[in-house]
């Protein structure tokens, strides 16, 4: 059966074109306009993914993330207005999977939805073992060996740990705070410049042109994203 998407959006015009685009892709769709409706539908219908607009008439969209995350790991993709980095970070820290800034092209949104659905499937299959290959890079997770163009590259323990965390969430934006927490522990979440230094080193070792990355992308003011499929 095709995945069921829950679309939470109060603007009728946006709902209209999203409905057209998503149904054309074959997704099943449940629509609602308010936060309380969204929370009710999320637990009643158990959707495969939630598409969530943050500006809702009754309550803050962030409340929906909090509510849903209490009981479900369902992927949540945020539709945010441009320039609200703070909201994006809060949403991601609360457990949202991704965000798309309005106005967006539908192609972009569909790609994010596909990636989020795939991640949750991978997560369910728990396949974070063996060897991961992307582009000219190969990561042997069992032996902790990284090869670029079949040449072994030496990573420091922290660099490897960082890569590992990113690999666990391919295509997902991880906030500075989330990465710091995962790699350096809960007490280092304000030291963003550590992270930047390690990311820069990782890029030097993995990317051909660190200033034009193919895999390890910066989300300005928010965090980083590792993209492992073309």
């Amino acid at each position: 059966m095709k995945p069921l998407l829950l679309m939470v959006e109060d603007d009728a015009q946006i709902r209209r074109f999203l409905r057209a685009a998503l149904e054309a892709e074959g997704y099943r769709l449940q629509e609602c306009e308010t936060a309380s409706e969204a929370l009710a539908q999320a637990s009643a219908r158990q959707p495969d993914l939630i598409l969530l607009d943050l500006g809702l008439p009754d309550r803050d969209g962030l409340d929906v993330i909090r509510g849903v995350r209490q009981s479900s790991p369902v992927p949540i993709v945020i539709l945010s207005a441009r320039g609200q980095e703070k909201d994006k970070i809060t949403a991601l820290d609360l457990g949202a999977d991704d965000y798309v800034a309005k106005p967006f092209a539908v192609g972009e949104l569909l790609a994010r939805i596909r990636a989020a659905l795939r991640r949750s499937a991978v997560f369910a299959a728990n396949s974070a073992e063996g060897t991961v290959r992307f582009g000219n890079i190969e990561v042997d997770l069992e032996n902790r060996v990284v090869r670029v163009d079949s040449e072994e590259v030496h990573l420091t323990p922290n660099e490897y740990k960082l890569l590992q965390v990113l690999l666990r969430h391919p295509g997902k934006v991880l906030t500075h705070r989330q990465l710091l927490h995962e790699v350096w522990g809960p007490n280092q979440t304000e030291q963003a410049h550590y992270l930047r230094v390690y990311i820069a080193q990782l890029r030097r070792k993995l990317e051909r042109e660190p200033a034009r990355p193919r895999y390890l992308f910066t989300e300005p003011g928010v965090g980083y994203r590792l993209v492992i499929e073309e």
Binding site: A192, T218, P220
Partner: protein, 483 residues
């Protein structure tokens, strides 16, 4: 009225002279000794004033007669010529004494005048520095207190009423009756001296059109009332200047905002209407003539809608950014970050537009981290690249380079386009400026770049490039050492 200290001093001078006379009386002619006594009278006149000098004149003549004119130690004289001499000496002593003390009085008055002028000058100068009504009043009251040696309070009106809250001194006990008195003076514009304490005086601060407040001189003893009037005038002038300045400032601001708004409106309405017209036209063609259009035309119209919508989006974003930057609604989220991050992001976002171009990136090895708002600086770079894409041939190369130069991070975006018309290097950073070649867009991209660079304490310039093209050079201060 002769004060004790002056009398003692005068007595001392005459006594010393007398002793000197006694010591010299055998060796000098009496006429020459008389000169000593005249000198003493002059000294007394200079130091002690006219009244004492008159007494000193009589005392000197008497002492001269008694001690220095034979027979000694008696007022009786041998020779009656001496009587003439005494009379002459007394007359001379009185005249010199009077004239000298007059001079002294003139000098004293001049000094007082000078001090007063100085004080008023100081008052007006220090009031001239104040830019707020209440500050000026406080400063005025403070200086008036010093100048008049009396406690001075200034009351200011609030909505037409003298208000207890708006007075310049907190610690003086001012009962409500004084507020009422001040209110009366404020309303009538006439000074009143019927205060709570003897000698208290309420002076209106009279501006050219209206009364601006009340100056109260409390508990003044002798009090220099004309001086108090002058001070009140000075303070009133200062208050009036400040009031009219802030009114003028407000008017200027309103005019500027109005001009901004109208140029914004005309630019925006043109730049929004054009893509809107294209969108509406394309969409309505698709709706009404759908079955008569061939697939290629239909695809073209759809492409048209999408492109024009993107153009509108850029314009609206730029307008919002500009407004936010200008209204101070942006707080910089400063962080240390390597420049390659924003370079990578900008190139990624412009991937499609950059399709056929060669873009080379040259970031110096020893480049320190930038300290700034990653999102805004990323936007700056993005705007510059977008600008280059728009105004240079689609296959011309672009370069992005960064290096350290003393205490600056220098980031450059270089193109091989047609360059900038001479004389427009600065104007392209002005809002809504349209160069000869610039026919599209609201001319906001570069002004936003400048606003962002300046918000970081840096600068941006456009320089002609050797061999053709433009170099946009951004300088950002390296403030702190990166951790």
């Amino acid at each position: 009225m002769v004060r004790g200290r002056e009398a003692v001093l005068a007595f001392g001078i005459v006594a010393v002279t007398t002793v000197a006379g006694v010591l010299l009386r055998g060796h000098m002619a009496a006429a020459n000794l008389a000169m000593l006594f005249l000198l003493a009278v002059v000294a007394v006149a200079i130091t002690c004033g006219r009244k004492v000098s008159v007494l000193a004149a009589f005392a000197s003549v008497a002492a001269f007669d008694f001690f220095c004119v034979p027979p000694y130690n008696t007022l009786v004289v041998d020779d009656y010529e001496y009587v003439v001499m005494f009379a002459g000496m007394l007359a001379v002593a009185l005249i010199i004494g009077t004239q000298t003390s007059k001079l002294r009085e003139f000098a004293r008055q001049a000094a007082v005048r000078e001090a007063r002028t100085g004080a008023l000058y100081g008052l007006s100068r220090s009031l001239a520095q104040e830019t707020r009504v209440f500050d000026a009043a406080s400063r005025g009251a403070e200086l008036a207190t010093e100048i008049l040696h009396a406690q001075v309070v200034i009351f200011l009106p609030q909505d037409g009423r003298i208000s207890f809250e708006r007075r310049t001194s907190d610690h003086l006990p001012v009962p409500s009756s004084d507020i009422e008195r001040a209110q009366q003076v404020f309303e009538s514009g006439r000074a009143s001296s019927a205060g709570r304490t003897a000698g208290a005086r309420y002076l209106p601060l009279q501006g050219t059109r209206q009364t601006l407040g009340v100056l109260a001189v409390l508990e003044s003893g002798e009090g220099d009332l004309p001086l108090a009037d002058l001070i009140a005038t000075q303070i009133a002038l200062a208050l009036e200047r400040i009031l009219s300045q802030s009114a003028a400032e407000e008017t200027r601001f309103k005019i500027r905002t109005e001009q901004m708004r109208s140029s914004l409106l005309s630019a925006v309405s043109h730049d929004l209407r054009t893509p809107l017209a294209a969108i509406t036209g394309s969409a309505s063609t698709l709706r009404t003539q759908d079955n008569r259009l061939d697939p290629a035309t239909r695809a073209e119209l759809i492409e048209n809608i999408s492109e024009e919508a993107e153009r509108m989006e850029r314009l609206v974003s730029n307008l919002l950014d500009m407004t936010r930057l200008e209204s101070g609604g942006v707080t910089l989220q400063r962080e240390f970050f390597p420049l390659e991050e924003i370079v990578g992001t900008a190139l990624q976002r412009l991937d499609r537009q950059l399709a056929r171009r060669k873009v080379s990136v040259d970031l110096a090895e020893d480049l320190p981290m930038a300290h700034g708002d990653e999102v805004l600086l990323g936007q700056l770079l993005w705007n510059l690249l977008e600008n280059a894409i728009k105004y240079t041939p689609a296959d011309s190369p672009l370069e992005i380079a960064a290096r350290r130069q003393e205490n600056f991070l220098v980031l450059e975006v270089r193109d091989r386009g047609p360059g900038i018309t001479a004389g427009e290097e600065e104007r392209i950073f002005e809002k809504f400026f349209r160069g000869e070649r610039n026919s599209r867009g609201a001319g906001l991209g570069l002004p936003i770049c400048r606003a962002i660079a300046e918000a970081h304490g840096g600068s941006i310039r456009a320089l002609p490039r050797d061999g053709g093209g433009v170099v946009f050079r951004i300088q950002l201060p390296i403030e702190a050492v990166a951790p």
